[in-house]
Amino acid sequence: MERFLLKNIDSPDSAGIGEYLRTGGYASLKKAFGMEPADIIAEVKAAGLRGRGGAGFPTGMKWDFASRDPKFPKYLICNADEGEPGTFKDRPILEKNPHLLIEGMVISAYALKSERGYIYLRGEYPHARAVLDKAIAEAYEAGFLGGDVAGSGFRFDLSVHQGAGAYICGEETALIDSIEGRRGQPRIKPPFPVNVGAWGKPTVVNNVETLANIPLIVSMGAGRYSEIGNPECPGPKLFSVSCCVERPGVYELPMGIPLREIIYEHAGGVRGGRELKAVIPGGISTPVLTPDVLDCPMDFVNLPKRGSMLGSGAVMVFDDTVCLVRVCWRAMRFFEHESCGKCTPCREGTGWMRNILERMEGGFGRDGDIELLQDIARSIMGKTFCPLGDGAAGVVLGFLRNFSDEFMYHITNKKCLAESG
């Protein structure tokens, strides 16, 4: 497939504005200024773009809500927190194609009548920080940011706000708290950020990849754009493929591509030709699947039918040497570490589950542990303040649904099925 989002990234100067302009960059921006803001929103709606940050919310609809709110100023925030384990898809845009993101943000801001934008960049990406700062400076220099963007009279200021190591700040309301200089904990919804967001003002939070799609929609038009991939949720999609494959990496592929193709054609298959045991399709928070779902199209509509989610499109492939109890334990350690502490079930439940998994993994599993784990996870599920806790519960339930034998084996034999197999 033709690459749109990662166009050019193989060139050594891909991050520079010169290279970006040479290959047609900022042309969409100019085109956009010839359109009415409302028309751009309509175009994004028509294109059927769904957010790439995980939840898959229709972007045009979100913009519509924000633009209908009479309050000003409005804020546009790019979510570059990319904290979901297994996910590294935004990174090539941030590090190698930053002007695409900037162009996408300026167009979005114009459509939303926002004059101020922030890129909320995770603290763990210091290199991306340097690249973005430079690209923003270049864009100011070239007149694509600032008081009079490209001579249109439109004003837009943009800067990077760097996170400091908190996965929860990827959740949009926690992210807003974090930009405001608070402990990044999710806020009560409603009101939603599109009405009461940063500093109480209408705020749109979009993922890096989502915003990078905007120039494409503007240049191609909604009609052509929606022909890419699954027409129900079209567009190009970045997949980060990792763990036990020959060629881990980020792949730009049409939405809805079957999982099998991603793993076997693009990522070179399971490493060393080993047997595929399990796949997490959308980052650690999405439930694990067995190889019998390999033909499932990778998109927002089909994965839920198979008991998981597209999430951030982070495909984690496990072969038969991997101990899934250990994976599950490590995932739970992550959730315990990242739980913001606001709500009871997540704060207390993640630690409890990690404790049990740790025992189990270390050969001290007890009878009834599996039932207990399931019960704890069900007690959490659906009762947490934000999706992080649900995610943690879903992970455990996913592993126990599909791989309870392996967990059972661990308890009875006090060792690993993977090692013994």
Binding site: I188, G341, G351
Partner: protein, 867 residues
């Protein structure tokens, strides 16, 4: 109208409220933990989950707003299971050391588990450990017990607005901490303790000595520390106060208290040094019987009256004593002895300010409600820090800020520092110029409407300073413009007046200007009161010129009414005020002084002179709870009962009448007596025929004598209902008759080389009483000299050094405390610690128009004490 169905019951709502509130309204109980009425919703504990039709997931009822047609269920198996799970989660890291925990018995978690919890926990892993912290003298923190409901944090930031604690860390390693991680650097209101549902933060004062079931008796009463008059509940055991707590729904303070109110109650346990009446025999105070003391006192008072006339006797009333006590002192003086020489330490500022403002606007001008402050959109504060003098009133000012209003402070903002958009600190004694400039600007922006002709006539004569003339004040013309702009943009403003605006030369002018600001902006006026019953003693007639009900004694009509009511005579001429009495004692004109519940040696300026003056009296009677500095000079000392040991009423600064209730038998039951009873006894010995059995009898008489208090029985005072003007008749027709000194001039602003000594009014201490509280002493153990680091540097001083301040009137040695927020032309010392009476060093005069005290010639030499 919103209609919702909860558990099959239809609930109709005027306004959208949360599902939880709607359910409670309908009498349906939903368990909660992080929810706390009056604090913002949090939604963290997840106990209040309910089912809502058409919504796929369970919803937290504390955060979900009702919508028309909503159908809610609160008791289903799914919900019960969820509650069990949440409680099980809360318990996994909870130490379950309930037998050792002081909270047991009133722990919300314990109660919730008993009612909704699982039969048994299934957690079989190691619990999180976190050592208990005893770093703070007042607050013990046990974070193993914390359920992270953040009620304390929201209390501290939303209502107390102190922002002194925070959740630190993340996830299950979150803890509630002050900045230091150990000792608190906060206002010690203890309001966080009230809202903590578990035993995670508790008062150290009753560690292991308090259990809810120890409480034998609870008494609802009113705090005895300041003029706000917060309601509180005293919890008693074995005739001892074990705890003072606020309670929501009791009093207008709505569950809040300040440090003095909550932790200062302990002083009543002191006072052991005064166990019987004392009489001076051969120059020394000796213990004597009540009979001996009373008959001596009555005899000597009678002799002096007979020999020199009633005018040779004076009395000092008390802002700590009840209305009944003060009324009786007034009766003894005016009607029995025949002297109008009665005044109190309210003379310092409260009384003259109040009377003067009433002369401008009429009686009751400051009778405004404290809770109402929070609804205003702007506050102008001048002359003192409300968050220290009247803390709960101060919180309402912070609330104005929180809801987007403006707070402007003239002077050092103190506890309002975080809430003011800019500082406005005039050079001492230039306030009058700044106020005139503000009024000048306001007149341009808001021409007066004609309602108060007298005031407007005087405004026309007001000399408005030019920009150049502002030069000496340290406040720029731009600042003045800003203030006036802010003031005129407020639609429901409040003007708060504190002591420092009154204790100046030409107090009449400052008060007039503040009154004018209030008038021009249509503001409500509040007058800060640092004693619980200053207003009450005024209304009881403890003033040289006013009878009970605030009626001028010199007007025959009023005098007659009073004489008729009591069948006794009153002298026609106004009496001496407090300072005139001191002068009179010095000159020998005044022979006897009766001091009730006051400590003039300590609380009046130029203490050396006061001491000398009192020493030259023929008779000094002191009636008090403690053996104060003044009592030590007395000829007779009569032990009185303390605040929790008596019944009566206080009138707060809103002029609300509230009952003070007796919580315990007098610790000194055998010897201490209620003030009014002692006074009535002496009056009886001097010829008064009327007798009183109970305090109600005294109040009966007040209702009869005072036109303000007609028909206002004790039963009318419950629930804070006794609001101005009660059923009484406010004094009308006297307003508008006032003079202002120096309207057409501007003062010279002195520029002394030495810094001024200013009296600080701190949060933790208020003087004679607070310095006996163990808790308040633990928070602030002693006096200090507060100064700006730059000023300190100029004197070779730094924080913690010992400094000597001195002038012709005395010397004090104090520890230096640096404070960036202080101007560099003054040092502050609180007048609260024995042996460190800052007032002694202050020079003073009496304002001829208002009779207020003004500070004068109070610069001090500052030196480092070398060790």
């Amino acid at each position: 109208m919103i209609k919702v169905t909860i558990d099959g019951r239809d609930v109709e709502l005027e306004h959208p409220v949360t599902v939880l509130e709607a359910a409670r309204k309908a009498g349906i109980e939903i368990p909660t933990l992080c929810y706390f009425e009056g604090l913002s919703p949090f939604g963290g504990c997840r106990l209040c989950l309910v089912e809502v039709e058409k919504l796929p997931k369970l919803q937290t009822s504390c955060t979900l707003m009702t919508a028309d047609g909503m159908v809610v269920r609160t008791e289903t198996e799914q919900i019960r299971a969820a509650r069990r799970s949440m409680l099980e989660f809360l318990l996994i890291n909870h130490p379950l050391d309930c037998p050792y925990c002081d909270k047991a018995g009133e722990c919300e978690l314990q109660d919730l588990v008993a009612r909704y919890g699982p039969e048994a926990g299934r957690f079989a892993e190691g619990k999180r450990r976190h050592p208990e912290s005893f770093d703070d003298p007042i607050i013990v923190r046990n974070m193993e017990r914390c359920v992270l409901c953040t009620r304390c944090i929201r209390m501290c930031s939303e209502l107390q607005a102190s922002y002194s604690i925070s959740v630190t860390g993340r996830g299950s390693h979150s803890f509630v901490e002050p900045f230091s991680g150990g000792r608190y650097d906060c206002e010690y209101c203890g309001n966080c303790l009230t809202v903590c549902p578990v035993g995670a933060i508790m008062s150290r004062l009753h560690r292991h000595s308090y259990r809810p079931w120890f409480v034998e008796k609870e008494t609802e009463t009113v705090c005895g520390f300041c003029g706000v008059g917060c309601s509180m509940v005293l919890q008693m055991r074995e005739n001892s106060i074990i705890r003072a707590i606020p309670r929501r729904g009791v009093g207008f303070n709505e569950g809040l208290l300040c440090a003095r109110g909550r932790f200062g109650y302990e002083y009543v346990e002191g006072g052991e040094e005064l166990t019987t009446p004392l009489m001076r025999v051969d120059g020394e105070l000796r213990q004597v019987s009540w009979e001996e003391a009373l008959s001596f006192t009555a005899r000597r008072l009678g002799e002096i009256r007979d020999e020199f006339g009633g005018g040779a006797v004076g009395a000092v009333a008390s802002g700590r004593c009840t209305n009944e006590d003060n009324y009786m002192l007034q009766k003894l003086m005016r009607f029995v002895i025949g002297s109008n020489n009665i005044d109190s330490a309210a003379r310092n500022y409260y009384a003259p300010a109040q009377i003067y403002l009433e002369r401008i606007f009429g009686q009751g001008i400051t009778a405004n409600l404290i809770p109402g402050i929070a609804n205003s959109d702007g506050v102008f504060v001048a002359g003192g820090d409300p968050t220290a003098i009247n803390p709960i009133l101060g919180l309402k000012i912070r609330a104005v800020w929180r809801s987007g209003g403006r707070v402007v402070v003239l002077g050092v903002p103190g506890g309002l520092k975080r809430f003011v958009p800019y500082e406005l600190i005039p050079v001492p004694y230039s306030e009058e110029i700044v106020l005139s400039a503000i009024v000048g600007r306001l007149l341009e922006r808001k021409p007066p409407g004609g309602a108060n002709a007298a005031l407007e006539a005087k405004l026309r004569d007001l000399r408005i300073p030019s920009d150049d003339e502002l030069g000496s004040t340290g406040v720029s013309p731009e600042d003045v413009a800003r203030v006036s702009e802010d003031l005129s943009s407020m639609s429901t403003p409040v003007v708060v007046i504190g002591p420092d605006m009154v204790q100046r030369r030409r107090a009449s002018k400052s008060l007039f200007l503040l009154g004018a600001i209030a008038y021009l902006t249509n503001a409500r006026i509040f007058l800060l009161a640092d004693r619980p019953n200053y207003q009450g003693l005024l209304d009881m007639g403890c003033l040289p010129e006013l009878l009970p009900g605030g009626r001028p004694v010199e007007l025959e009509m009023f005098r007659h009414k009073a004489e008729e009511a009591l069948g006794m005579k009153v002298p026609e001429q106004r009496g001496l005020n407090l300072f005139e009495m001191i002068d009179g004692a010095e000159s020998g004109r005044l022979k006897a002084l009766y001091v009730m519940g006051e400590n003039p040696v300590f609380n009046l300026p130029d203490g050396v002179r006061v001491e000398k003056a009192l020493g030259s009296l023929d008779l000094l009677v002191v009636q008090d709870v403690h053996l104060t500095e003044t009592a030590r000079l007395a000829d007779v000392v009569l032990p009185a009962t303390a605040w929790p040991e008596k019944e009566g009423t206080y009138t707060n600064l809103e002029r609300r009448l509230q009952r003070v209730r007796k919580a315990r038998r007098g610790k000194m039951a055998s010897y201490g007596r209620e003030d009014w009873r002692i006074l009535a006894d002496i009056a009886g010995r001097l010829g008064m025929t009327k007798t009183y059995q109970r305090v109600e009898d005294v109040w009966e008489e007040v209702m009869h004598v005072s036109a303000l208090h007609t028909g206002l029985g004790y039963e009318e005072m419950d629930g804070g209902r006794a609001l101005w003007p009660y059923y009484g008749e406010p004094l009308r027709g006297m307003e508008g008759d006032f003079t202002v000194e120096g309207l057409d001039g501007l003062p010279e602003v002195p520029a002394p080389e030495r810094p001024y000594l200013m009296i600080e009014r701190p949060l933790y201490h208020s003087g004679t009483f607070s310095r006996r509280s163990k808790a308040l002493l633990a928070i602030q153990p002693g006096p200090y000299l507060k100064m700006n680091p730059e000023l300190a540097r100029r004197h070779g001083l730094t924080g913690g050094d010992k400094a000597r301040i001195s002038n012709g009137r005395g010397v004090l040695e104090l520890e230096v405390r640096l404070d960036d927020d202080m101007p560099d032309n003054q040092v502050h010392v609180a007048n609260t610690f024995e042996g460190f009476a800052a007032m002694r060093l202050a020079g003073f005069g009496t304002d001829p128009v208002t009779g207020a005290l003004y500070m004068d010639d109070n610069t001090v030499r500052v030196e480092k004490v070398l060790r």
